[in-house]
């Protein structure tokens, strides 16, 4: 039984979404703005990869190119959406609560739980391109009251330690799911142990910059590893200024992900196992 996977940078979904033509109502910045997106899991047009990790359905890094580029006002329900900004400025207009406009810069991040419904628009209005990582996950309950929280990661002071940004640690932003998102900015030669909450949790480790050794593999720029059914793991930093995102979450029993693993991970499955599965047919595929 496998308890890990590696996704190399080149294996992720790579999309370039233009603000003109058929997507102009969705992508802002017509005519020359465009969004580039690299997705670890299936998302929109990219349907060639792993469906998710525990409750996580989207993990992607995006760049909004050109002043005025981004996403026009659009609705959400239920999903919890987190954005972590690394460069440029993200102007976030959100109807949650009484409605608000937030401006996020390098180190800033938000957690938007769409719950019973909300709309938002995300724009880069300054001349610099905006770089962010987006994380979407299923909530622990449907139709919760919408919430929005924002925080800041002080990357100049929080060096060489794993800092929890989202989850149940002191100062972390709350989130309606059994998940913890941490960030590590560290230098070559350091090693960081990470103990998982239980063996029912898994951890997804993404290298934004630099390189590390983790889960028995060497991971470079935008490579990632998923590990589960383990007590703990180590992140060994191989390069100065490495920047690593760590997502620890409950590995919910998920039909789609298990089905994908059976089809793609080289497992041999008997006909008996298939018919005994919790749900053997996925509707609409």
């Amino acid at each position: 039984m496998s308890n890990s996977f590696i996704i190399r940078s080149a294996e992720r979904g790579h999309d370039m979404i233009r603000s003109d033509g058929s997507r102009s109502s969705y992508i802002a910045g017509h005519p020359d703005g465009f969004v580039t997106r690299a997705s670890s899991f299936n998302f929109h047009e990219y349907q060639g990869g792993r469906p998710g990790f525990g409750p996580v359905r989207v993990f992607g890094d995006e760049i909004f190119h050109g002043a005025g580029c981004g996403y026009n006002m659009h609705p959400h329900h239920n999903f919890v959406i987190c954005a972590f900004v690394f460069a440029g400025e993200l102007t976030h207009i959100n109807t949650a609560g009484g409605g608000m406009v937030d401006r996020l810069q390098a180190g800033d991040y938000y957690v938007f739980s769409a719950g019973s419904g909300g709309k938002h628009s995300e724009l880069s209005v300054t001349p610099e391109d905006m770089h962010a990582i987006y994380l979407w996950l299923l909530p622990e309950q449907l139709y919760l009251p919408p919430t929005y929280h924002r925080g800041h990661f002080d990357f100049r002071r929080k060096r060489n330690e794993i800092v929890q940004l989202v989850g149940d640690a002191d100062g972390a932003l709350p989130i309606p799911q059994d998940i913890r998102v941490s960030r590590l900015m560290a230098d070559k030669g350091r090693s960081f142990p990470y103990r998982l909450r239980t063996t029912s949790h898994g951890v997804y480790v993404f290298v934004r910059e630099g390189s590390i050794r983790c889960g028995g593999a060497e991971l470079g720029h935008r490579d990632s590893v998923g590990l589960w059914a383990i007590d703990s793991m180590d992140i060994e930093v191989l390069e100065d200024d490495s920047d690593v995102i760590i997502v620890e979450t409950i590995m919910i029993d998920d039909e789609n992900i298990q089905k994908w693993e059976l089809e793609h991970a080289g497992h041999r499955v008997s006909a008996h196992d298939r018919t005994m599965g919790p749900e053997t047919q996925r509707q609409g595929c």
């Binding site: 609705p75 309950q141 996925r282 509707q283």
Partner: protein, 77 residues
Amino acid sequence: MMEIKMIDEPFKRLLCLGCGFSYDEALGLPEHGLAPGTRWADIPEDWVCPDCGTPKHMFEMVMVGYVAGGTDLARTA
């Protein structure tokens, strides 16, 4: 055999992977012409998310419960 099985099958909940809109077989979507009890399999394959236009095959069945009062919100979302 399949027909008999369908009657006993619990109602499913599905989530749009484009925006999080939900379809609950038990509740249907009366405002969008789908009566309560309409099975996902009986919705046309060219049906799309009423909120964001994501195609039917990009909905995922979920096993997530409602918050108290959530079914009323889901029915009219």
